[in-house]
Amino acid sequence: MREFLLMDGYWAYVWSSWALTLAIMVWLIMAARRHHRRALLEAAQETEAPLPARAAVKELS
């Protein structure tokens, strides 16, 4: 076990690259969820778009 953790003396590099990968993956997931949640919130706050007006064409002469 100890040998495994030491990684031939490269433990600092190997474990930190794994930790970094994990951290960025977790951050990506959280950011994506936050992004989605915020989009939902924004979409819900937005009052429904007013129906487009109709353009009336009138013959004057």
Binding site: S17, L28, A43
Partner: protein, 245 residues
């Protein structure tokens, strides 16, 4: 077939389908990443030159792969969006950019962590690392350009055009950087490139790559749902969507 395509193209339908797809990406991704980690760190034999240090390859190479894949996917989506005026394609391009940029950064960071013990320095002006750095700048340009527009639709189109310009330039940049690198550096540092991989090492790398790809797909799909919502603000169907992500 066409009808199916059309149906998928409608935002509410796409939104629901994407939501159902996420677990199908996320669960295999988690399984493969755990398996690949175990395989790469425990089961695969140590490299006879680099010892256990070579194991960084299991996170470095997949992220390098995703960095490039992400940009190309973004550029293809951008082209589809510009040509067929598909809002969904723009949403996809917008969802890809930050995820691809994150993996480009990760590739640089793990490359640096690998470089320190092997080269003795944190950064080396090696051809592939330098190209990756330029790729990161290209990603940042696309993200910054999209963000600079007040009108989201205009930002989408501008960023899409930039992504296409970037993808045309990538081979040229890559070529020039490699050329520059071979001139200025004797090829003594090729250590990083290929620790002669045996099959039992390579297999786990494939597992990691597929795992990363699925992870990418899951995160991009999740972001894509958000982007679709942002582009459909004020549409009636959104009222029916519940708050679960």
């Amino acid at each position: 077939m066409w009808l199916w395509f059309h149906k998928l193209g409608s935002p509410p339908h796409f939104y629901r389908t994407a939501g159902r797809l996420i677990p199908w990406f996320a669960i295999p991704a988690a399984l493969l990443l755990v398996a690949g980690t175990l395989g790469g760190l425990v089961i695969a034999p140590a490299d006879y030159e680099q010892g256990d240090g070579f194991r960084i390859i299991y996170v470095h190479v997949p992220s390098a792969y995703l960095a490039m894949f992400g940009y190309v996917a973004m550029a293809i989506a951008a082209a589809v969006g510009l040509i067929w005026r598909m809002k969904l394609a723009f949403a996809f391009a917008a969802a890809c950019a930050p995820v691809g940029a994150a993996f480009t950064f990760l590739c640089l960071a793990t490359g640096s962590l690998w470089g320190k013990p092997m080269w003795g320095v944190w950064w080396d002006w090696d051809g592939r690392m330098t190209s990756m750095l330029v790729l990161l700048f290209l990603y940042l340009g696309v993200i910054a350009l999209r963000g600079a527009f007040d009108d989201a639709a205009k930002g989408d189109r501008a960023a899409a055009l930039l992504a296409i310009v970037g993808v045309v330039n990538i081979p040229i940049i890559k070529f020039s950087v490699d050329w520059w690198n071979t001139l200025h550096q004797p090829a003594t540092l090729s250590k990083l490139s290929a620790p002669s991989m045996t099959m039992d090492m390579l297999g786990w790398l494939l597992v990691m790559i597929v795992g990363h790809m699925l992870f990418f797909a899951a995160v991009v799909t999740l972001r894509l749902r958000g982007e679709v919502l942002l582009r459909e603000r004020g549409a009636r169907w959104i009222r029916g969507v519940d708050g679960r992500a």
